[in-house]
Amino acid sequence: EAGVVQSPRYKIIEKKQPVAFWCNPISGHNTLYWYLQNLGQGPELLIRYENEEAVDDSQLPKDRFSAERLKGVDSTLKIQPAELGDSAVYLCASSTVGGDTQYFGPGTRLTVL
């Protein structure tokens, strides 16, 4: 069974540029999560989807961050414009609806110069 797929794995951009990250969850997993992991810290939830619906986006900085999951499968997280402090690893995870375990992708490491 394929795991959670994320791309790109690494991204380097100049500040004020836009950037997008893509996630494909495990087949059959209707719940999808985006986490932010700063260097030396544990991941923090940005947004949770159940199918197409963002059911918890309370931690998403909506002035510059947006996310979508149009068909309830793949998801894209966008930052526009990026700031230096956005340099971090962005992790995607998925689970079954009501499932107790989340499965993580390899992450996208963003560097903003």
Binding site: V4, Q6, T31, Y33, G40, Q41, G42, P43, E44, L45, R48, E50, V55, D56, L91, A93, S95, G98, G99, D100, T101, Q102, Y103, F104, G105, P106, G107, R109
Partner: protein, 116 residues
Amino acid sequence: AQSVTQLDSQVPVFEEAPVELRCNYSSSVSVYLFWYVQYPNQGLQLLLKYLSGSTLVKGINGFEAEFNKSQTSFHLRKPSVHISDTAEYFCAVSSPWRAAGNKLTFGGGTRVLVKP
């Protein structure tokens, strides 16, 4: 609100020696508990989880953890470590209630460095 404290940010240990990583949590409701491992430049991999039942939980790669409700702890142990266990380890908690949406709250991580 839930919180997780991992008491050691770094743990150096010699190969074949035992290791214990400490995790304490705070929650006003019952919890699910997890340990994840993160190898360099990789995502998080589930080591083990406690949902209910026996307080001693066995996971992959020879790890085990013990849930102690009175101490609100979930310490991770391995009796003999290998070089390949060098990684960062994260303790996490979630609520079993459906309305909570299985939100994971992570500790700050413990970096384990296994020395030959």
